[in-house]
C-alpha cells in the first residue's frame, strides 16, 4: 500500500515541476530523445536513417541519424554532435533540433540540393547516463557515465555521493560559519560566495562545500558519487592520464569508442559541429588561443626534446590552429555572429581530452564548437554574480535556492546553510528559448555546409604538339571555402588523399605524366594544375576526387 502512494506523490511532483514556467520540464529525457530520433527516421525514410552505435554502461543507446541522398559516405559530410557532457542537456536539444529543422525543410529547393551534395551525421546524445540526472528526483550536474569508478582513488567505489540535505530536489552548496573558512559573501551580490582576498583586507568567514555529507570522512564532499567516466574527457587529444573522470585510458568507454570508430570510418566528413561547453566560434582571440582548450593545455608538447638525442617526434604535434584553417575559422565565426545574432562570448571551459579539440587535432577535421547559449560576464566579475543579474533581467525566476539553515552531521553545533544557484541553469537556456536557438544554429550549419569542398575541372587544354603528340593540361579547382581537408588533417593517415587518374583509349600512349597521381590537398578556392604528354588520338577519361570531396569525371577528345 505504501509503494503506490509514493509513486503517486512522485508523479504529482513531476507534474508540478513540468508545469512551472522556465527552466525545467521541457527538455527531453533520454527516452524522448530516442523516440524523436526514431520518428524522424520513420517519417523521412528516403532522406534519413537511424542506427544504434553503442550501449552505455547504463544500458542507454547512442544513436546516429544519417541525413542525405545519393552515395552518402562518398560525398562531403558534416557531423553534428551533442550531449558531450551531462551538464549540458541543451547540447542534445540543439543537435536534435538541427536534424529536425533540416528534415522539416527538406522539401525546399535549397535543402533538397544540399542533401544531394552533403551528408549530415547527427549524434545528439553522447552522455545519456549522466544527462538523465537532470530528470531525476535529485538533480545535479553530473558529467559521468554509469561505469563504476573509484573517482577519488581510495579503493572504495562510489562511496561518497551527494545528499539532498534540504530535500528540495537540487544539489547546490553548503556553507558553514567558521573563522577557519576562506569564503565570504560577495559584495556585489550577497547570495554568492567568493574567496576572501587578504590583499583587500578580507578575512574568510565560511567553509563552502557541495551539498552533501562527507561519507568517507576524507575531508572532501561528494568526490566519489555514482559513476563514472566523462565522455568529454575521454578522447585522445590532450588526454590527462589519471585525470578526474578521464577513464582508465583515452577512448576507454563504449560510447567514445563507437563514436570515434564511426567517424574514422566516414572519410567523407570534413567538419564537425559540437554543441558542448567548449566555444571556438565567439572567442575573439586568434591562433592557439582560439582553440577551446587555450588554458592549461600542451603540458606535454612544451617539453622540448633535447636536440640530437632520440628522434624528435614531439615536434610533429599540432597544438594550435593551422594558418589556412584559421582563415576558415574566422569566416565561420563571422557567419556565426551574423546568422545567430548572438552577442558576447561564452565562458571558456577547460576539459582535457574533450571532443571538440579531438575533432580538430586528432581527427584532422574542421571543428566548431559552441554551448549555443550563454550569459554575459564582464571582466573581473564573478560568473555567479553576473548570472544572477542576467537571470533577473531575463525574468528567470527559478534560478537560486535561498540559503536556509539545516542540521549537518559533519558539523555539529555549527551554523550550516544550504543554498546557491540551481544546477544546470548557468549552462542551459530556459526551455522556451530552445526552438529559436535551434533554428538559428541550423541556419548557421547549413551556411557552412553550402561552402563544402567541391571539385571542378577548369581550363582544360589539349595542345597539338605535332607528330600526333598532345599536351593535355587541366586544373582541379576547389569551389568551396573549406579546403578538401583541414590543414590539421593533411598528415593524418585517417584522411584521404585525392587521386587524379587518367585513362587512355586504345592506341594512345602516355609519354609524360603519371596515370594515377596524388592530390594531397586543395585549399578553399584553390587550384592544382596537371599535365600529360600523350601520343595518339582518341578519348581521354579523367577522374578526380576522394570520399571527402566526391568524385568528378570529364573526358578530353584528342583529334
Amino acid at each position: 500500500m505504501k509503494l503506490p502512494l509514493k509513486v503517486l506523490i512522485l508523479a504529482a511532483y513531476g507534474i508540478i515541476l513540468s508545469g512551472t514556467s522556465g527552466v525545467y520540464g521541457q527538455y527531453s529525457n533520454h527516452k524522448e530523445i530516442i523516440s524523436s530520433i526514431r520518428s524522424m527516421a520513420a517519417k523521412h525514410p528516403s532522406l534519413c536513417t537511424a542506427a544504434t552505435l553503442a550501449k552505455t554502461e547504463g544500458g542507454k543507446d547512442i544513436m546516429v541519424l544519417t541525413i542525405g541522398t545519393g552515395d552518402k559516405d562518398n560525398k562531403p559530410g558534416i557531423a553534428v554532435i551533442g550531449g558531450v557532457t551531462g551538464s549540458h542537456p541543451a547540447g542534445r536539444e540543439l543537435a536534435l533540433g538541427f536534424a529536425s529543422n533540416l528534415l522539416g525543410n527538406a522539401s525546399s529547393e535549397e535543402i533538397k540540393t544540399l542533401l544531394g551534395e552533403v551528408t549530415f551525421y547527427v549524434v545528439p546524445d553522447l552522455s545519456p547516463d549522466a544527462t538523465e540526472q537532470y530528470f531525476m528526483d535529485i538533480k545535479y550536474e553530473r558529467h559521468v557515465n554509469a561505469r563504476k569508478v573509484d573517482d577519488d582513488r581510495d579503493f572504495r567505489f562510489d562511496e561518497d555521493p551527494a545528499e539532498d540535505l534540504n530535500k528540495d530536489g537540487y544539489i547546490t552548496l553548503i556553507r558553514v560559519s567558521d573563522p577557519a573558512g576562506t569564503y565570504i559573501e560577495s559584495k556585489e551580490d550577497k547570495r554568492i560566495m567568493v574567496s576572501a582576498d587578504l590583499a583587500k583586507g578580507e578575512k574568510g568567514a565560511y567553509l563552502v562545500y557541495p551539498e552533501g555529507i562527507d561519507n568517507d570522512k576524507d575531508g572532501k564532499f561528494n568526490e566519489d558519487g555514482q559513476g563514472g567516466v566523462n565522455f568529454n574527457r575521454n578522447l585522445t587529444y590532450n588526454y590527462e592520464e589519471f585525470g578526474s573522470n578521464a577513464g582508465l585510458h583515452a577512448v576507454s568507454e563504449p560510447e567514445t569508442m563507437a563514436l570515434v570508430d564511426f567517424l574514422f570510418d566516414r572519410y567523407n566528413i570534413y567538419a564537425t559541429f559540437t554543441f558542448g561547453p567548449q566555444d571556438n566560434l565567439t572567442q575573439t582571440s586568434r591562433g592557439a588561443e582560439r582553440s577551446p582548450q587555450a588554458q592549461g593545455q600542451q603540458a606535454q608538447s612544451s617539453q622540448a626534446e633535447t636536440p640530437g638525442q632520440g628522434r624528435r617526434m614531439g615536434s610533429r604535434k599540432i597544438t594550435s590552429v593551422q594558418r589556412t584553417d584559421e582563415v576558415v575559422m574566422r569566416y565561420a565565426s563571422e557567419k556565426y555572429r551574423e546568422i545567430t545574432g548572438l552577442k558576447g562570448s561564452a565562458q571558456p571551459v577547460s576539459d582535457p581530452g574533450n571532443f571538440a579539440d579531438w575533432a580538430y587535432y586528432h581527427y584532422g577535421r574542421y571543428s566548431f564548437s559552441t554551448p549555443g547559449w550563454w550569459f554575459p560576464v564582464e571582466r573581473n566579475t564573478e560568473p555567479g554574480v553576473a548570472f544572477l543579474k542576467f537571470a533577473e533581467e531575463q525574468g528567470m525566476k527559478d534560478a537560486f535556492v535561498a540559503w536556509t539553515e539545516i542540521e549537518h552531521p559533519d558539523f555539529p553545533g555549527k551554523k550550516v546553510e544550504v543554498g546557491g544557484i540551481k544546477p544546470f541553469v548557468m549552462m542551459n537556456p530556459p526551455a522556451d528559448r530552445l526552438s529559436t536557438l535551434a533554428e538559428a544554429h541550423y541556419k548557421f550549419i547549413v551556411a557552412m555546409a553550402e561552402e563544402h569542398p567541391e571539385l571542378e575541372f577548369s581550363n582544360i587544354k589539349a595542345e597539338d604538339e605535332g607528330e600526333g603528340i598532345f599536351r593535355v593540361t587541366i586544373n582541379v579547382h576547389n569551389k568551396g571555402i573549406f579546403a578538401t581537408c583541414a590543414e590539421a588533417g593533411q598528415n593524418n593517415i585517417f584522411t584521404r588523399i585525392m587521386r587524379l587518374s587518367l585513362q587512355t583509349s586504345k592506341g594512345q600512349t602516355l609519354l609524360s605524366g603519371q596515370q594515377v597521381q596524388r592530390i594531397p590537398r586543395i585549399t578553399g578556392d584553390g587550384v592544382e594544375e596537371f599535365s600529360w604528354l600523350i601520343s595518339g588520338k582518341g578519348t581521354l577519361k579523367i577522374t578526380a576526387g576522394a570520399a571527402n570531396t566526391g568524385f568528378i569525371n570529364t573526358s578530353v577528345e584528342l583529334k
Binding site: R153, D154, F155, K217, T236, Y239, E241, F242, L248, H249, A250, V251, S252, M257, V260, D261, F264, Y267, Q300, Q303, E305, T306, Q309, G310, R311, R312, M313, G314, R316, K317, I318, H362, G364, N491, N492, I493, F494, T495, R496, I497, R499, Q514, Q515, V516, Q517, R518, A546, A547
Partner: protein
C-alpha cells in the same frame, strides 16, 4: 628404482597417449647441469613454431603439470586465433592470483618471432625444473608467471605460411590513403614465401658482385664500372599509382597502441585510431586489469641485443621514476647484461628513439609495474665478437648458406628480366636454430632473476607484552625480503594499487601505530581502522615495525597483504 621408472613412463603415457614422442628412457642419457634431464614434454628448441605449434606445446605443458599450470585464452585476435596465456605457479601454496606476478609476452611485432620461443621456453623450463631444482621450486611457491608467447598470432602464421608480414597484425589498413585497403603489398614473385631483393643487370648501375663472395653486392669504387642496380624489394605496382609495395597487409604498429602517452599517427607513426584499437592488445589489457598482482613484466622484441627500460619519452610524461625505482631497474638490468652477453641496458628515449603509446610505458605508467623490453639477437652472437660481424661469412661457415636465397632470374612485368635473391627472412633479425636455445635460456634466466627480485613479504618478531589494566601490547615486524618495492613511484603517485595492509586478528584493538624509533619510543598512530594498518609502500629490503594495544584474546594472527607484494602471516600466543 625400476618401479619409479615404470611409473613415470606410465604417467607420461597417460598424459601423452596421442604423442609419438614420450619421456625417453633414462638409461640412454643423463642430465646436463641446469637443464631438465628428462622433460615430460619433449620440445626441440632449435626451430620455430606456428601458432598451432605454440598452442600444442602449451596444452601439453598444461596437461603434464596440472598442479602448476592453468592455460587461458585472453580473447581472440583479429582473425579469430586464441590469445593464450599460461599461468604458472605452485597452486598448492596459495592462490596464484595473490602472489606477485611476472608477465612475459613475445612477438608483438610479427617479424620478431623468437620472443615466442623464449617466452615458451621460460614456461617449459619452470615446469620441468620445478620438482628437482630448489630455487625454481621456491620461486613458484612465492610467485606466479603469466606467459603469453605470442600476442600477434595472425601475423606470426602469415610469416610461417605465406610471406613477410609487416610489424603489425592483419587488420586492413589504408597506408596510401586512397580508399583501397592493402591493395599494393609486396609480391612473392618467385613463390618462396620470402620477400627478397630485386637486382637488374645495368651497366650504369653502381653495384657489382663481390669477387670474394659473389652473393654479396658491393658498391663500385669511383671510376669503376657497375654491373647491377637494386630495384627494391620484390614486388610490382599493383594499383598503378606509380609506387610499388606502398600499401601491403596491415601496416600499423602494435607497439604504438597502448593507453599511456599515446599520440596519433602523424606524431607517432604506426599508431592506430586510439589506444587499444587493436583487438590483440585489447585482449591483453582486459587480462592485465583483472590480474593486478602482476608486478614485473618482460616484453620480447628483436633485434640488436638490448635490455630496454623506460621512459620512452623524455621526462616520461605522467610517469614517475623515483631514484629508488631507477636504482632497482638499473641493478636488475645490469645483471641482465652479465647474464646475456652482447646485450646492453639502454633507456628507450635517450639511447634509441622516442616512442609514444608503447607497451612498456603502459606497464610502467598506467599499471605501476617494473618492466623491460629485450631486443633479442645481435650480430655479436655470430662469432662472439663485436668487431667481426660478417653475416655472409656466418651463413657460409656455420649455416652452410642455408639462409641465403641464390640470385635467380625472374621476368618482371615492368622491369623486364630481374634477379631475385638475398638473405631469407630467417636471418638478420632471427636466431639461427643452433643459437636459439642458448639465448632462450639466457633470456629466461633474466626473467627468472627479475621475478625472484619481486617483493617477498614476511611477518616476524611478533611479541606480546602484558600491560597494566589487562591490556596487551603486540608488536610485529613486516619486511620486504627482495629488491623490488611493493609500489613503484608511479603506483604511489596515482594510487594505482591499495597500500600494504597489516591486519591483526584475535583481539579487540584499542590503538595501532607504526614504530618509527623503538629506542626513543617515537610512533605514528593510525586513528581509523587500527586493526588494519596501512603502509603506503614497502621498499626493497625495508622493515616496518608495528605496535598494537589490544584487549582480550590470547592468540593473535598478524597478516600482511599487498596486491603486488603478496601475502604472509605469523601467529603469536
Amino acid at each position: 628404482m625400476k618401479n619409479s621408472i615404470i611409473k613415470s613412463i606410465l604417467a607420461a603415457t597417460i598424459f601423452f597417449i596421442s604423442l609419438p614422442l614420450m619421456s625417453q628412457n633414462e638409461m640412454l642419457f643423463f642430465q646436463a647441469a641446469g637443464t631438465p634431464g628428462n622433460p615430460k614434454v619433449q620440445v626441440s628448441w632449435n626451430r620455430y613454431y606456428t601458432h598451432a605449434g605454440v598452442t600444442d606445446l602449451m596444452k601439453k605443458i598444461a596437461a603434464a603439470y596440472p598442479s602448476l599450470v592453468t592455460l587461458e585464452s585472453m580473447g581472440k585476435s583479429y582473425q579469430g586465433r586464441d590469445m593464450w596465456v599460461m599461468i604458472i605457479s605452485d597452486k598448492k601454496t596459495g592462490d596464484p592470483g595473490t602472489k606477485p606476478g611476472f608477465w612475459i609476452d613475445g612477438n608483438i611485432h610479427s617479424i620478431e618471432l623468437q620472443g615466442t620461443e623464449m617466452a615458451l621456453y621460460t614456461g617449459w623450463y619452470l615446469c620441468e625444473m620445478f620438482e628437482n631444482n630448489k630455487f625454481i621450486n621456491e620461486l613458484l611457491k612465492d610467485k606466479t608467471f603469466y606467459i603469453a608467447p605470442t600476442i600477434n598470432p595472425d601475423a606470426r602464421d602469415y610469416f610461417a605460411n605465406q610471406g613477410v608480414p609487416p610489424r603489425s597484425g592483419l587488420m586492413p589498413f589504408d597506408n596510401d590513403r586512397d580508399g583501397s585497403f592493402d591493395e599494393d603489398g609486396a609480391d612473392d614473385m618467385n613463390g618462396d614465401k620470402n620477400i627478397s631483393q630485386m637486382r637488374r643487370k645495368n651497366p650504369d648501375g653502381n653495384l657489382i658482385a663481390d669477387p670474394k663472395d659473389p652473393r654479396r653486392m658491393i658498391r663500385v669504387e669511383p671510376g669503376q664500372k657497375g654491373e647491377y642496380e637494386y630495384l627494391g624489394s620484390e614486388g610490382i605496382d599493383n594499383d598503378n599509382d606509380g609506387q610499388a609495395n606502398e600499401d601491403g597487409i596491415g601496416g600499423y604498429d602494435g607497439n604504438r597502441d597502448w593507453g599511456f602517452n599515446w599520440e596519433p599517427n602523424y606524431v607517432q607513426s604506426g599508431a592506430h585510431r586510439y589506444p587499444f584499437s587493436q583487438p590483440e592488445n585489447k585482449a591483453v589489457r582486459d587480462f592485465i586489469v583483472k590480474h593486478r598482482n602482476i608486478t614485473g613484466a618482460q616484453s620480447f622484441h628483436n633485434s640488436g641485443g638490448m635490455i630496454l627500460r623506460g621512459p620512452s619519452i623524455q621526462g616520461g610524461g605522467a610517469e614517475a621514476y623515483s631514484r629508488t625505482d631507477d636504482a632497482v631497474i638499473d641493478a636488475i638490468g645490469k645483471t641482465g647484461e652479465k647474464m646475456i652477453p652482447g646485450y646492453k641496458l639502454l633507456t628507450i628515449w635517450r639511447d634509441l628513439y622516442t616512442v609514444y603509446g608503447g607497451e612498456i610505458d603502459w606497464w610502467h605508467g598506467g599499471m605501476g609495474c617494473f618492466v623491460y623490453s629485450n631486443e633479442l639477437w645481435n650480430s655479436f652472437l655470430m662469432f662472439y665478437d663485436t668487431a667481426f660481424t660478417d653475416q655472409y661469412e656466418f651463413d657460409r661457415l656455420l649455416l652452410f648458406e642455408d639462409a641465403f636465397i641464390p640470385w635467380t632470374k625472374v621476368t618482371h612485368p615492368v622491369y623486364g628480366e630481374v634477379e631475385i635473391g638475398g638473405f631469407s627472412k630467417m636471418l638478420g633479425r632471427l636466431h639461427p636454430g643452433f643459437l636459439l636455445e642458448t639465448d632462450a635460456h639466457r633470456n629466461a634466466a633474466f626473467c627468472i632473476y627479475n621475478a625472484w627480485n619481486m617483493p617477498k613479504l614476511e611477518v616476524s618478531n611478533v611479541k606480546v607484552t602484558k600491560l597494566p589494566g589487562g591490556l596487551k601490547e603486540v608488536t610485529a615486524r613486516v619486511s620486504n625480503l627482495r629488491m623490488m618495492p611493493t609500489h613503484s613511484a608511479t603506483n604511489l603517485r596515482y594510487n594505482i594499487d591499495p597500500p600494504v595492509y597489516v591486519n591483526i586478528e584475535g583481539a579487540t584493538v584499542i590503538a595501532g601505530m607504526r614504530v618509527i624509533n623503538k629506542d626513543l619510543n617515537r610512533t605514528v598512530e593510525q586513528k581509523d581502522n587500527p586493526q588494519r594498518m596501512e603502509i603506503s609502500n614497502l621498499q626493497g629490503y625495508q622493515n616496518v615495525d608495528l605496535k598494537w594495544i589490544v584487549k582480550g584474546g590470547s592468540k593473535y594472527t598478524i597478516s600482511v597483504e599487498s596486491v603486488k607484494g603478496g601475502r604472509a602471516s605469523a601467529v603469536a600466543e
